[in-house]
């Protein structure tokens, strides 16, 4: 894995659930001690949800595509970009099911999108040249 611009490394994984194991150590290593632990854990949550969403729903079952992760720490921000060649999907505007009023009524699941938006309110999405780009900027504490 060659170092990329900004001194951080990119990670390219197969868009399948089995590949998710690699994103946790990757983010820790790419952060290189520059990101405070609490912020880093929040970034882990948002990243896990975003990548899991693509791996689980972005590709046909017999045709996993690719997901590329990038981290840049600059200008007071830690910015994650998740690029994938799956079906077009905007996690920043997709409808979120309202929370049920009781345990009896709740259907477990569907909380990942809400977590991405709560942990990273400035998330943006773009579809370009057949690829999805989800950008998750996290302000660095001063």
């Amino acid at each position: 894995m060659a170092p990329a611009e900004g001194g951080n490394s990119d990670l390219r994984i197969v868009g399948a659930v089995e590949a998710l194991d690699r994103i946790y150590p990757w983010l820790d290593e790419a952060a290189g001690g520059e990101i405070p632990e609490t912020l880093l854990t929040r970034m882990h949550v948002a990243l896990e949800e975003a990548v899991a969403n693509v791996a689980l729903h972005g590709f046909a079952p017999d045709a996993p595509g690719h997901i590329t992760l990038r981290l840049r720490v600059e200008d007071g921000q830690a910015r994650l970009v998740i690029e994938d060649n799956g079906a077009p999907f905007d996690p920043t505007t997709a409808e979120i099911r309202p929370m049920a009023a009781s345990l009896a009524e709740v259907t477990p699941g569907g909380w990942g999108l809400g977590l991405i938006r709560k942990f990273c309110p400035a998330a943006t999405y773009e579809r370009r040249d057949g690829l999805n780009y989800l950008t998750l900027p996290f302000p660095m504490p001063v």
Binding site: L20, T38, T41, E48
Partner: protein
């Protein structure tokens, strides 16, 4: 991911989860939690040693709590770390499964009335 079961006095079960509840971790606890949920009526799920919780893990916790409640039982969560608590609160799950930071209070909250 590890899961340990402690049977307490008064018919209360304390389930101690430890590790990362991501997709892989959730797969590891899903079956044990289903079995526990299916056979207990007063459950304290201790999250103090859980380092990380993803939405897939919330699903396992809620499914277990649903089963227990269906039988007229109760489930509470105990002592999640700050970021784990944020995941639970941001999802609104704390409205469905109460969070306690004190073990005695948690046990009292689920204990069957005498």
């Amino acid at each position: 991911m590890s899961i340990t079961i402690h049977e307490l006095d008064g018919g209360v079960t304390r389930v101690v989860l430890a590790g990362r509840i991501d997709i892989k971790g959730a797969q590891e606890i899903d079956t044990p939690l289903s079995v526990i949920g299916g056979s207990r009526r007063a459950l304290v799920i201790d999250l103090a040693e859980v380092e990380f919780l993803a939405s897939i893990g919330l699903r396992s916790l809620v499914q277990c709590a649903k089963v227990v409640q269906l039988k007229g039982g109760k489930v509470v969560l105990l002592s999640p770390r700050p970021v784990v608590a944020e995941v639970i609160q941001f999802s609104g799950i704390d409205e469905l499964i109460p969070i306690h930071d004190d073990a005695d209070e948690a046990i009292a909250a689920v204990s069957p009335a005498r």
